[in-house]
Protein backbone atom coordinates (compact mmCIF):
# COMPACT_ATOMS: atom_id res chain seq x y z
CA UNK A 1 0.00 0.00 0.00
CA UNK A 2 2.70 2.47 1.07
CA UNK A 3 4.77 1.71 -1.97
CA UNK A 4 1.83 2.40 -4.32
CA UNK A 5 1.40 5.86 -2.81
CA UNK A 6 5.09 6.72 -3.11
CA UNK A 7 4.80 6.55 -6.88
CA UNK A 8 2.34 9.42 -6.90
CA UNK A 9 3.60 12.99 -7.03
CA UNK A 10 0.64 15.03 -8.27
CA UNK A 11 -1.97 12.36 -7.84
CA UNK A 12 -0.82 10.84 -11.09
CA UNK A 13 1.55 7.92 -11.63
CA UNK A 14 5.23 8.73 -12.10
CA UNK A 15 5.38 7.52 -15.68
CA UNK A 16 2.75 10.17 -16.57
CA UNK A 17 5.15 12.97 -15.56
CA UNK A 18 7.94 11.23 -17.39
CA UNK A 19 5.96 11.45 -20.64
CA UNK A 20 5.17 15.10 -19.96
CA UNK A 21 8.91 15.70 -19.86
CA UNK A 22 9.33 13.71 -23.07
CA UNK A 23 6.70 15.90 -24.75
CA UNK A 24 8.37 19.16 -23.69
CA UNK A 25 11.73 17.82 -24.76
CA UNK A 26 10.29 16.87 -28.15
CA UNK A 27 8.94 20.38 -28.68
CA UNK A 28 12.32 21.89 -27.80
CA UNK A 29 14.17 19.51 -30.11
CA UNK A 30 11.81 20.36 -32.96
CA UNK A 31 12.30 24.10 -32.46
CA UNK A 32 16.07 23.61 -32.13
CA UNK A 33 16.28 21.62 -35.36
CA UNK A 34 14.18 24.21 -37.14
CA UNK A 35 16.49 26.98 -35.97
CA UNK A 36 19.55 24.93 -36.92
CA UNK A 37 18.13 24.42 -40.43
CA UNK A 38 17.55 28.15 -40.90
CA UNK A 39 21.14 28.78 -39.83
CA UNK A 40 22.29 26.21 -42.40
CA UNK A 41 20.74 28.31 -45.19
CA UNK A 42 22.13 31.46 -43.56
CA UNK A 43 18.75 33.01 -42.81
CA UNK A 44 19.22 36.13 -40.71
CA UNK A 45 16.54 36.42 -38.07
CA UNK A 46 15.54 40.02 -37.40
CA UNK A 47 12.65 39.86 -34.97
CA UNK A 48 13.54 43.39 -33.87
CA UNK A 49 12.30 44.69 -37.22
CA UNK A 50 8.84 43.17 -36.91
CA UNK A 51 7.20 45.60 -34.41
CA UNK A 52 6.91 48.27 -37.10
CA UNK A 53 4.37 46.06 -38.84
CA UNK A 54 2.16 46.41 -35.78
CA UNK A 55 2.67 50.10 -35.08
CA UNK A 56 5.23 52.75 -36.01
CA UNK A 57 5.91 56.44 -35.57
CA UNK A 58 5.46 58.49 -38.68
CA UNK A 59 7.20 61.83 -39.01
CA UNK A 60 4.75 64.45 -40.20
CA UNK A 61 5.96 67.69 -41.77
CA UNK A 62 3.81 70.77 -41.32
CA UNK A 63 4.44 72.84 -44.47
CA UNK A 64 3.52 76.35 -45.41
CA UNK A 65 0.97 76.88 -48.13
CA UNK A 66 1.77 80.54 -48.78
CA UNK A 67 4.68 82.88 -49.40
CA UNK A 68 5.62 85.24 -46.57
CA UNK A 69 7.14 85.96 -43.19
CA UNK A 70 6.63 84.17 -39.90
CA UNK A 71 4.80 86.91 -38.03
CA UNK A 72 4.09 85.17 -34.73
CA UNK A 73 4.82 81.94 -32.84
CA UNK A 74 2.68 81.42 -29.76
CA UNK A 75 2.94 78.45 -27.46
CA UNK A 76 -0.17 77.26 -25.66
CA UNK A 77 0.36 74.21 -23.46
CA UNK A 78 2.04 71.62 -25.68
CA UNK A 79 0.78 73.21 -28.89
CA UNK A 80 2.45 75.87 -30.99
CA UNK A 81 0.62 78.26 -33.34
CA UNK A 82 2.71 79.56 -36.21
CA UNK A 83 1.30 82.49 -38.14
CA UNK A 84 2.63 83.29 -41.62
CA UNK A 85 1.80 86.66 -43.20
CA UNK A 86 2.60 87.88 -46.70
CA UNK A 87 1.06 89.41 -49.85
CA UNK A 88 -2.05 90.40 -47.92
CA UNK A 89 -2.64 86.77 -46.81
CA UNK A 90 -2.40 85.30 -43.37
CA UNK A 91 -2.40 81.64 -42.38
CA UNK A 92 -2.09 80.00 -38.96
CA UNK A 93 -0.73 76.49 -38.43
CA UNK A 94 -1.21 74.57 -35.19
CA UNK A 95 1.32 71.85 -34.38
CA UNK A 96 2.79 70.07 -31.35
CA UNK A 97 5.57 72.33 -30.04
CA UNK A 98 8.46 69.82 -29.79
CA UNK A 99 10.07 70.46 -33.17
CA UNK A 100 9.31 73.95 -34.53
CA UNK A 101 11.83 74.58 -37.30
CA UNK A 102 11.28 78.29 -38.00
CA UNK A 103 11.74 81.42 -35.95
CA UNK A 104 9.91 84.73 -35.96
CA UNK A 105 10.76 87.03 -38.88
CA UNK A 106 11.97 84.23 -41.14
CA UNK A 107 10.91 84.38 -44.81
CA UNK A 108 9.49 81.21 -46.27
CA UNK A 109 8.10 79.88 -49.54
CA UNK A 110 5.18 77.48 -50.07
CA UNK A 111 6.24 73.93 -49.25
CA UNK A 112 8.81 74.91 -46.63
CA UNK A 113 8.71 72.87 -43.45
CA UNK A 114 7.50 74.88 -40.48
CA UNK A 115 7.57 72.09 -37.93
CA UNK A 116 7.59 68.32 -37.63
CA UNK A 117 6.05 65.95 -35.18
CA UNK A 118 5.73 62.21 -34.77
CA UNK A 119 2.49 60.31 -34.77
CA UNK A 120 1.74 56.67 -33.98
CA UNK A 121 0.25 54.82 -36.91
CA UNK A 122 -1.11 51.28 -37.18
CA UNK A 123 1.23 48.93 -39.01
CA UNK A 124 0.30 46.65 -41.90
CA UNK A 125 -0.46 43.62 -39.76
CA UNK A 126 -2.75 45.59 -37.43
CA UNK A 127 -4.60 47.05 -40.40
CA UNK A 128 -4.94 43.56 -41.86
CA UNK A 129 -6.09 42.16 -38.52
CA UNK A 130 -8.75 44.84 -38.27
CA UNK A 131 -10.06 44.11 -41.79
CA UNK A 132 -10.07 40.37 -41.09
CA UNK A 133 -12.00 40.95 -37.86
CA UNK A 134 -14.46 43.26 -39.59
CA UNK A 135 -15.07 40.80 -42.43
CA UNK A 136 -15.40 37.86 -40.04
CA UNK A 137 -17.90 39.59 -37.76
CA UNK A 138 -20.04 40.83 -40.66
CA UNK A 139 -19.93 37.50 -42.47
CA UNK A 140 -20.75 35.63 -39.25
CA UNK A 141 -23.83 37.75 -38.55
CA UNK A 142 -25.09 37.54 -42.12
CA UNK A 143 -24.15 33.85 -42.29
CA UNK A 144 -26.20 33.03 -39.19
CA UNK A 145 -29.23 34.84 -40.58
CA UNK A 146 -28.91 33.09 -43.96
CA UNK A 147 -28.26 29.77 -42.21
CA UNK A 148 -31.30 29.94 -39.92
CA UNK A 149 -33.59 31.03 -42.75
CA UNK A 150 -32.39 28.38 -45.19
CA UNK A 151 -32.34 25.76 -42.41
CA UNK A 152 -36.01 26.51 -41.73
CA UNK A 153 -36.73 26.46 -45.48
CA UNK A 154 -34.98 23.11 -45.71
CA UNK A 155 -37.47 21.49 -43.30
CA UNK A 156 -40.49 23.31 -44.74
CA UNK A 157 -43.23 21.30 -46.42
CA UNK A 158 -43.47 23.84 -49.23
CA UNK A 159 -41.44 22.39 -52.16
CA UNK A 160 -40.51 25.82 -53.53
CA UNK A 161 -38.87 26.74 -50.22
CA UNK A 162 -37.38 23.32 -49.55
CA UNK A 163 -35.89 22.88 -52.99
CA UNK A 164 -34.47 26.41 -53.01
CA UNK A 165 -32.67 25.58 -49.78
CA UNK A 166 -31.44 22.23 -51.10
CA UNK A 167 -30.14 23.80 -54.34
CA UNK A 168 -28.41 26.58 -52.39
CA UNK A 169 -26.73 24.21 -49.96
CA UNK A 170 -25.63 21.76 -52.64
CA UNK A 171 -24.29 24.50 -54.94
CA UNK A 172 -22.25 26.08 -52.17
CA UNK A 173 -20.96 22.86 -50.66
CA UNK A 174 -20.11 21.44 -54.06
CA UNK A 175 -17.63 24.09 -55.17
CA UNK A 176 -14.42 25.48 -53.69
CA UNK A 177 -14.63 28.70 -51.72
CA UNK A 178 -11.85 30.16 -53.89
CA UNK A 179 -14.03 29.73 -56.98
CA UNK A 180 -17.01 31.25 -55.20
CA UNK A 181 -14.97 34.30 -54.21
CA UNK A 182 -13.86 34.76 -57.84
CA UNK A 183 -17.46 34.47 -59.04
CA UNK A 184 -18.72 36.88 -56.39
CA UNK A 185 -16.16 39.51 -57.32
CA UNK A 186 -15.45 39.09 -61.00
CA UNK A 187 -18.88 37.93 -62.19
CA UNK A 188 -21.54 39.19 -59.79
CA UNK A 189 -19.41 42.13 -58.70
CA UNK A 190 -18.77 43.32 -62.24
CA UNK A 191 -22.43 42.87 -63.07
CA UNK A 192 -23.72 44.72 -60.02
CA UNK A 193 -21.17 47.52 -60.11
CA UNK A 194 -21.66 48.13 -63.85
CA UNK A 195 -25.42 48.25 -63.34
CA UNK A 196 -24.96 50.67 -60.43
CA UNK A 197 -22.68 52.90 -62.48
CA UNK A 198 -25.10 52.81 -65.43
CA UNK A 199 -27.77 54.12 -63.08
CA UNK A 200 -25.53 56.78 -61.64
CA UNK A 201 -24.98 55.20 -58.25
CA UNK A 202 -21.61 54.52 -56.67
CA UNK A 203 -19.81 51.16 -56.69
CA UNK A 204 -19.85 48.61 -53.93
CA UNK A 205 -16.31 48.08 -52.56
CA UNK A 206 -14.58 44.69 -52.89
CA UNK A 207 -14.83 44.16 -49.14
CA UNK A 208 -18.58 43.66 -49.39
CA UNK A 209 -18.23 41.03 -52.09
CA UNK A 210 -15.77 39.29 -49.82
CA UNK A 211 -18.24 39.44 -46.93
CA UNK A 212 -21.02 38.17 -49.21
CA UNK A 213 -18.98 35.20 -50.45
CA UNK A 214 -17.96 34.15 -46.93
CA UNK A 215 -21.48 34.68 -45.53
CA UNK A 216 -23.08 32.60 -48.27
CA UNK A 217 -20.44 29.92 -47.88
CA UNK A 218 -20.84 29.72 -44.10
CA UNK A 219 -24.63 30.07 -44.42
CA UNK A 220 -24.87 26.80 -46.35
CA UNK A 221 -23.03 24.88 -43.63
CA UNK A 222 -24.94 26.69 -40.86
CA UNK A 223 -28.14 25.75 -42.67
CA UNK A 224 -27.34 22.05 -42.32
CA UNK A 225 -26.29 22.51 -38.69
CA UNK A 226 -29.52 24.38 -37.91
CA UNK A 227 -31.61 21.77 -39.70
CA UNK A 228 -29.99 18.94 -37.78
CA UNK A 229 -30.37 20.90 -34.53
CA UNK A 230 -34.07 21.51 -35.06
CA UNK A 231 -34.72 17.94 -36.10
CA UNK A 232 -32.91 16.69 -33.00
CA UNK A 233 -35.55 18.35 -30.79
CA UNK A 234 -38.23 15.82 -29.95
CA UNK A 235 -41.44 16.16 -31.99
CA UNK A 236 -43.42 16.29 -28.76
CA UNK A 237 -42.02 19.76 -28.10
CA UNK A 238 -43.58 21.14 -31.28
CA UNK A 239 -46.78 19.26 -30.58
CA UNK A 240 -47.01 20.63 -27.04
CA UNK A 241 -46.38 24.17 -28.26
CA UNK A 242 -48.84 23.91 -31.14
CA UNK A 243 -51.49 22.24 -28.96
CA UNK A 244 -51.41 25.34 -26.74
CA UNK A 245 -52.34 27.45 -29.74
CA UNK A 246 -48.91 28.80 -30.63
CA UNK A 247 -48.29 29.51 -34.30
CA UNK A 248 -45.44 27.84 -36.18
CA UNK A 249 -43.36 30.98 -35.73
CA UNK A 250 -44.08 31.26 -32.01
CA UNK A 251 -43.25 27.63 -31.34
CA UNK A 252 -40.00 27.99 -33.31
CA UNK A 253 -39.01 31.18 -31.50
CA UNK A 254 -39.94 30.25 -27.95
CA UNK A 255 -39.60 26.47 -27.87
CA UNK A 256 -37.60 24.90 -30.68
CA UNK A 257 -34.85 27.37 -31.59
CA UNK A 258 -33.72 28.08 -27.99
CA UNK A 259 -33.31 24.35 -27.38
CA UNK A 260 -31.74 23.72 -30.77
CA UNK A 261 -29.28 26.59 -30.30
CA UNK A 262 -27.75 24.96 -27.22
CA UNK A 263 -27.11 21.78 -29.13
CA UNK A 264 -25.70 23.41 -32.24
CA UNK A 265 -23.42 25.89 -30.50
CA UNK A 266 -20.28 23.68 -30.69
CA UNK A 267 -20.56 22.85 -34.43
CA UNK A 268 -21.58 26.44 -35.11
CA UNK A 269 -18.44 27.68 -33.36
CA UNK A 270 -16.33 25.33 -35.48
CA UNK A 271 -17.96 26.80 -38.57
CA UNK A 272 -17.10 30.36 -37.59
CA UNK A 273 -13.55 29.44 -36.70
CA UNK A 274 -13.32 28.07 -40.24
CA UNK A 275 -14.78 31.31 -41.53
CA UNK A 276 -12.05 33.38 -39.86
CA UNK A 277 -9.42 31.14 -41.44
CA UNK A 278 -11.16 31.11 -44.84
CA UNK A 279 -11.12 34.91 -44.92
CA UNK A 280 -7.40 34.55 -45.73
CA UNK A 281 -8.44 33.72 -49.32
CA UNK A 282 -9.93 37.16 -49.85
CA UNK A 283 -6.52 38.60 -50.75
CA UNK A 284 -7.12 37.43 -54.33
CA UNK A 285 -9.83 40.04 -54.80
CA UNK A 286 -7.54 42.76 -53.46
CA UNK A 287 -8.99 42.97 -49.97
CA UNK A 288 -6.16 43.83 -47.61
CA UNK A 289 -7.02 41.32 -44.92
CA UNK A 290 -4.43 39.84 -42.59
CA UNK A 291 -2.81 37.43 -45.08
CA UNK A 292 -2.65 39.99 -47.89
CA UNK A 293 -1.20 42.55 -45.45
CA UNK A 294 1.40 40.02 -44.34
CA UNK A 295 2.41 39.34 -47.94
CA UNK A 296 2.84 43.08 -48.46
CA UNK A 297 4.93 43.26 -45.28
CA UNK A 298 7.12 40.43 -46.60
CA UNK A 299 7.61 42.23 -49.92
CA UNK A 300 8.67 45.34 -48.05
CA UNK A 301 10.86 43.75 -45.38
CA UNK A 302 12.18 40.58 -47.05
CA UNK A 303 11.65 38.84 -43.71
CA UNK A 304 9.27 36.02 -44.71
CA UNK A 305 10.11 33.67 -41.82
CA UNK A 306 9.28 36.12 -39.05
CA UNK A 307 6.22 37.60 -40.67
CA UNK A 308 4.61 34.37 -41.81
CA UNK A 309 5.18 32.83 -38.38
CA UNK A 310 3.59 35.91 -36.82
CA UNK A 311 0.73 35.60 -39.30
CA UNK A 312 0.02 32.06 -38.17
CA UNK A 313 0.16 33.09 -34.53
CA UNK A 314 -2.25 35.97 -35.13
CA UNK A 315 -4.83 33.63 -36.67
CA UNK A 316 -4.31 31.30 -33.74
CA UNK A 317 -5.05 34.15 -31.32
CA UNK A 318 -8.27 34.96 -33.21
CA UNK A 319 -9.56 31.40 -33.42
CA UNK A 320 -8.47 30.48 -29.90
CA UNK A 321 -10.25 33.45 -28.34
CA UNK A 322 -13.35 32.64 -30.35
CA UNK A 323 -13.39 29.06 -29.12
CA UNK A 324 -12.79 30.22 -25.53
CA UNK A 325 -15.73 32.60 -25.82
CA UNK A 326 -17.98 29.85 -27.13
CA UNK A 327 -16.94 27.55 -24.29
CA UNK A 328 -17.90 30.33 -21.89
CA UNK A 329 -21.29 30.68 -23.62
CA UNK A 330 -21.85 26.93 -23.40
CA UNK A 331 -21.11 26.93 -19.68
CA UNK A 332 -23.43 29.87 -19.13
CA UNK A 333 -26.22 28.19 -21.09
CA UNK A 334 -25.74 24.92 -19.24
CA UNK A 335 -26.28 26.63 -15.88
CA UNK A 336 -29.27 28.73 -16.92
Amino acid sequence: MREGNDHRVTGRPLHYNRWVVVFCFGVLVFLGLFYYATQKIQYVWRWNRTPIYFAYQEEIHVTSTIDGEVSAITVEGDKARITVTGNGEEETYTTPKQDVRVSKGEFISPGDTLATYKKWKAGLLVIGLWITLKISVLATIIGVIIGILSGLMRISENPALRWSAVVYVELIRGSPLMVQILIWYFVLGTLINDLLIANGWGQIPALWYGVASLACFAGAYVSEIVRAGIQSIHRGQTEAARSLGMTYGQSMRHIILPQALRRILPPLAGQFISLVKDSSLLGIIAIRELTKAAREAVSASLQPFEIYILLGLLYLVLTFSLSMYVQYLERRMATS
Binding site: H234, G236, Q237, E239, A240, A241, R242, S243, L244, G245, M246, T247, Q250, H254, I255, P258, Q259, R262
Partner: protein
Amino acid sequence: MIQAKNVYKTFYAPHAIHALVDVSADIAAGEVVVVIGPSGSGKSTFLRCLNRLEHATSGHIYIDGIDILDARTDINKVRAEVGMVFQSFNLFPHKSVLENVTLAQKVVRKRSGGASTEKAMALLKKVGISDKIDVFPDQLSGGQQQRVAIARALAMDPKVMLFDEPTSALDPEMIGEVLDVMKTLAREGMTMVCVTHEMGFAREVADRVIFMDAGAIVEAGTPEHFFTNPTHDRTKLFLSQIL
Protein backbone atom coordinates in the same frame (compact mmCIF):
# COMPACT_ATOMS: atom_id res chain seq x y z
CA MET B 1 -68.99 20.47 -27.81
CA ILE B 2 -67.19 17.96 -30.04
CA GLN B 3 -68.76 16.37 -33.08
CA ALA B 4 -66.86 13.91 -35.22
CA LYS B 5 -68.64 12.77 -38.37
CA ASN B 6 -67.42 9.88 -40.51
CA VAL B 7 -63.76 10.60 -39.78
CA TYR B 8 -61.18 8.62 -41.73
CA LYS B 9 -57.44 8.80 -41.26
CA THR B 10 -55.03 6.93 -43.48
CA PHE B 11 -51.26 7.05 -43.10
CA TYR B 12 -49.46 6.49 -46.37
CA ALA B 13 -45.86 6.12 -45.37
CA PRO B 14 -44.38 3.59 -45.71
CA HIS B 15 -47.58 1.81 -46.79
CA ALA B 16 -51.26 2.61 -46.38
CA ILE B 17 -52.53 2.09 -42.85
CA HIS B 18 -56.17 2.79 -42.12
CA ALA B 19 -55.84 4.26 -38.66
CA LEU B 20 -59.42 5.57 -38.43
CA VAL B 21 -62.34 4.10 -40.34
CA ASP B 22 -65.64 5.99 -40.31
CA VAL B 23 -65.42 7.21 -36.72
CA SER B 24 -68.33 9.32 -35.51
CA ALA B 25 -68.88 10.61 -31.99
CA ASP B 26 -70.74 13.40 -30.24
CA ILE B 27 -69.33 14.66 -26.99
CA ALA B 28 -71.46 17.09 -25.01
CA ALA B 29 -70.19 19.94 -22.85
CA GLY B 30 -69.30 18.71 -19.39
CA GLU B 31 -69.12 15.11 -20.49
CA VAL B 32 -66.20 12.87 -19.54
CA VAL B 33 -65.49 10.32 -22.23
CA VAL B 34 -62.91 7.58 -21.82
CA VAL B 35 -61.58 5.93 -24.97
CA ILE B 36 -60.14 2.46 -24.52
CA GLY B 37 -58.95 -0.23 -26.86
CA PRO B 38 -55.98 -2.41 -27.68
CA SER B 39 -52.80 -0.75 -28.87
CA GLY B 40 -52.94 0.22 -32.53
CA SER B 41 -56.71 0.55 -32.39
CA GLY B 42 -56.59 4.22 -33.42
CA LYS B 43 -57.64 5.76 -30.09
CA SER B 44 -54.65 8.11 -29.86
CA THR B 45 -54.99 9.00 -33.54
CA PHE B 46 -58.64 9.87 -32.94
CA LEU B 47 -57.70 12.09 -30.02
CA ARG B 48 -54.95 13.81 -32.01
CA CYS B 49 -57.40 14.45 -34.86
CA LEU B 50 -59.58 16.43 -32.46
CA ASN B 51 -57.05 19.30 -32.30
CA ARG B 52 -55.66 18.60 -35.76
CA LEU B 53 -52.24 17.42 -34.58
CA GLU B 54 -53.18 14.74 -37.10
CA HIS B 55 -55.12 15.99 -40.08
CA ALA B 56 -58.06 13.67 -40.71
CA THR B 57 -58.08 12.33 -44.27
CA SER B 58 -61.83 12.86 -44.64
CA GLY B 59 -64.94 13.56 -42.60
CA HIS B 60 -65.87 16.48 -40.41
CA ILE B 61 -64.81 17.47 -36.92
CA TYR B 62 -66.56 20.35 -35.14
CA ILE B 63 -65.18 21.83 -31.95
CA ASP B 64 -67.72 24.14 -30.34
CA GLY B 65 -69.40 24.44 -33.74
CA ILE B 66 -66.21 25.26 -35.67
CA ASP B 67 -65.23 22.93 -38.50
CA ILE B 68 -61.53 22.38 -37.79
CA LEU B 69 -60.88 20.60 -41.09
CA ASP B 70 -61.97 23.67 -43.03
CA ALA B 71 -58.86 25.33 -44.49
CA ARG B 72 -60.23 28.76 -43.54
CA THR B 73 -60.39 27.91 -39.85
CA ASP B 74 -57.67 29.49 -37.71
CA ILE B 75 -56.56 26.26 -36.06
CA ASN B 76 -54.43 28.09 -33.48
CA LYS B 77 -57.54 29.76 -32.06
CA VAL B 78 -59.26 26.39 -31.77
CA ARG B 79 -56.22 24.75 -30.20
CA ALA B 80 -56.07 27.46 -27.55
CA GLU B 81 -59.52 26.29 -26.46
CA VAL B 82 -58.56 22.61 -26.48
CA GLY B 83 -56.04 21.59 -23.84
CA MET B 84 -53.92 18.52 -24.45
CA VAL B 85 -51.91 16.34 -22.09
CA PHE B 86 -49.40 13.94 -23.56
CA GLN B 87 -48.12 10.53 -22.54
CA SER B 88 -44.56 11.83 -22.39
CA PHE B 89 -45.50 15.15 -20.70
CA ASN B 90 -43.60 17.24 -23.27
CA LEU B 91 -42.79 20.01 -20.83
CA PHE B 92 -40.41 22.63 -22.18
CA PRO B 93 -37.06 21.61 -20.66
CA HIS B 94 -35.43 25.04 -21.06
CA LYS B 95 -38.18 26.80 -19.10
CA SER B 96 -38.86 26.68 -15.38
CA VAL B 97 -42.08 25.17 -14.10
CA LEU B 98 -43.62 28.61 -13.75
CA GLU B 99 -42.49 29.67 -17.25
CA ASN B 100 -43.93 26.46 -18.68
CA VAL B 101 -47.33 27.51 -17.39
CA THR B 102 -47.09 31.23 -18.18
CA LEU B 103 -45.48 31.15 -21.65
CA ALA B 104 -48.51 30.31 -23.78
CA GLN B 105 -50.69 32.63 -21.71
CA LYS B 106 -48.42 35.52 -22.65
CA VAL B 107 -47.72 34.48 -26.23
CA VAL B 108 -51.15 33.21 -27.27
CA ARG B 109 -53.59 34.85 -24.87
CA LYS B 110 -51.54 38.08 -24.67
CA ARG B 111 -51.93 38.22 -20.90
CA SER B 112 -49.64 40.47 -18.86
CA GLY B 113 -46.78 38.98 -16.84
CA GLY B 114 -48.62 39.62 -13.58
CA ALA B 115 -51.92 38.14 -14.68
CA SER B 116 -50.32 35.04 -16.20
CA THR B 117 -48.15 34.45 -13.13
CA GLU B 118 -51.18 34.78 -10.87
CA LYS B 119 -53.12 32.31 -12.98
CA ALA B 120 -50.14 29.91 -13.09
CA MET B 121 -49.66 30.05 -9.32
CA ALA B 122 -53.32 29.25 -8.73
CA LEU B 123 -53.20 26.28 -11.09
CA LEU B 124 -49.88 24.96 -9.78
CA LYS B 125 -51.38 25.11 -6.30
CA LYS B 126 -54.39 23.21 -7.56
CA VAL B 127 -52.21 20.40 -8.96
CA GLY B 128 -50.01 20.48 -5.87
CA ILE B 129 -46.72 21.80 -7.29
CA SER B 130 -46.74 25.32 -5.82
CA ASP B 131 -43.49 24.70 -3.90
CA LYS B 132 -41.44 23.95 -7.03
CA ILE B 133 -42.24 26.80 -9.38
CA ASP B 134 -38.63 27.78 -10.07
CA VAL B 135 -37.13 24.36 -10.75
CA PHE B 136 -36.70 22.92 -14.22
CA PRO B 137 -38.79 19.99 -15.45
CA ASP B 138 -35.93 17.47 -15.35
CA GLN B 139 -35.73 17.89 -11.58
CA LEU B 140 -39.33 16.72 -11.14
CA SER B 141 -40.68 13.19 -10.91
CA GLY B 142 -42.84 11.90 -13.74
CA GLY B 143 -46.03 12.42 -11.76
CA GLN B 144 -45.05 15.99 -10.91
CA GLN B 145 -44.17 16.70 -14.54
CA GLN B 146 -47.51 15.41 -15.71
CA ARG B 147 -49.33 17.57 -13.18
CA VAL B 148 -47.39 20.63 -14.40
CA ALA B 149 -48.38 19.66 -17.95
CA ILE B 150 -52.03 19.60 -16.87
CA ALA B 151 -51.63 23.03 -15.26
CA ARG B 152 -49.98 24.28 -18.45
CA ALA B 153 -52.98 23.16 -20.52
CA LEU B 154 -55.51 24.51 -18.00
CA ALA B 155 -53.82 27.93 -17.99
CA MET B 156 -55.34 28.61 -21.41
CA ASP B 157 -58.86 28.25 -19.92
CA PRO B 158 -59.72 25.49 -22.36
CA LYS B 159 -63.27 24.37 -23.03
CA VAL B 160 -62.13 20.80 -23.62
CA MET B 161 -59.23 18.75 -22.27
CA LEU B 162 -57.74 15.88 -24.24
CA PHE B 163 -55.66 13.31 -22.34
CA ASP B 164 -53.47 11.00 -24.41
CA GLU B 165 -52.55 8.11 -22.09
CA PRO B 166 -51.51 10.54 -19.34
CA THR B 167 -50.43 7.84 -16.89
CA SER B 168 -48.83 5.27 -19.21
CA ALA B 169 -45.30 6.60 -18.81
CA LEU B 170 -45.51 6.88 -15.02
CA ASP B 171 -44.20 4.65 -12.28
CA PRO B 172 -47.13 2.91 -10.61
CA GLU B 173 -46.90 4.91 -7.37
CA MET B 174 -47.32 8.17 -9.27
CA ILE B 175 -50.39 7.26 -11.28
CA GLY B 176 -52.72 8.06 -8.38
CA GLU B 177 -51.64 11.68 -8.00
CA VAL B 178 -52.28 12.40 -11.69
CA LEU B 179 -55.61 10.60 -11.72
CA ASP B 180 -56.67 12.58 -8.63
CA VAL B 181 -56.10 15.84 -10.49
CA MET B 182 -58.10 14.50 -13.44
CA LYS B 183 -60.93 13.42 -11.16
CA THR B 184 -61.07 16.89 -9.62
CA LEU B 185 -61.31 18.38 -13.10
CA ALA B 186 -64.09 16.00 -14.05
CA ARG B 187 -66.06 16.89 -10.90
CA GLU B 188 -65.72 20.59 -11.74
CA GLY B 189 -67.53 19.96 -15.02
CA MET B 190 -64.62 20.05 -17.50
CA THR B 191 -65.36 18.41 -20.84
CA MET B 192 -62.76 15.64 -21.09
CA VAL B 193 -61.73 13.03 -23.61
CA CYS B 194 -59.25 10.56 -22.09
CA VAL B 195 -57.39 7.79 -23.81
CA THR B 196 -56.28 5.59 -20.95
CA HIS B 197 -55.78 2.07 -19.70
CA GLU B 198 -56.93 2.99 -16.20
CA MET B 199 -60.15 1.00 -15.99
CA GLY B 200 -60.75 2.11 -12.39
CA PHE B 201 -60.71 5.73 -13.57
CA ALA B 202 -63.08 4.91 -16.42
CA ARG B 203 -65.49 3.12 -14.12
CA GLU B 204 -65.45 5.87 -11.50
CA VAL B 205 -65.39 9.07 -13.53
CA ALA B 206 -66.52 8.44 -17.10
CA ASP B 207 -69.97 9.37 -18.31
CA ARG B 208 -69.35 7.27 -21.36
CA VAL B 209 -66.79 4.71 -22.44
CA ILE B 210 -65.86 4.25 -26.09
CA PHE B 211 -64.18 1.03 -27.13
CA MET B 212 -62.17 1.15 -30.34
CA ASP B 213 -60.59 -1.61 -32.37
CA ALA B 214 -58.91 -1.61 -35.79
CA GLY B 215 -59.62 2.10 -36.31
CA ALA B 216 -63.36 1.89 -35.66
CA ILE B 217 -65.65 2.42 -32.68
CA VAL B 218 -66.88 -1.01 -31.71
CA GLU B 219 -69.04 -0.12 -28.78
CA ALA B 220 -69.91 2.91 -26.68
CA GLY B 221 -71.95 3.19 -23.53
CA THR B 222 -72.07 4.00 -19.83
CA PRO B 223 -69.40 2.40 -17.65
CA GLU B 224 -72.03 0.14 -16.02
CA HIS B 225 -73.14 -1.16 -19.37
CA PHE B 226 -69.62 -1.43 -20.61
CA PHE B 227 -67.98 -3.26 -17.75
CA THR B 228 -70.89 -5.44 -16.69
CA ASN B 229 -72.76 -6.15 -19.86
CA PRO B 230 -70.77 -5.61 -23.05
CA THR B 231 -72.54 -6.69 -26.22
CA HIS B 232 -69.71 -7.29 -28.66
CA ASP B 233 -67.44 -10.31 -28.55
CA ARG B 234 -64.41 -8.11 -29.30
CA THR B 235 -65.18 -5.97 -26.25
CA LYS B 236 -65.64 -9.03 -24.07
CA LEU B 237 -62.33 -10.43 -25.24
CA PHE B 238 -60.52 -7.16 -24.56
CA LEU B 239 -62.04 -6.82 -21.11
CA SER B 240 -61.22 -10.41 -20.25
CA GLN B 241 -57.60 -9.74 -21.20
CA ILE B 242 -57.13 -6.64 -19.07
CA LEU B 243 -59.38 -7.10 -16.03
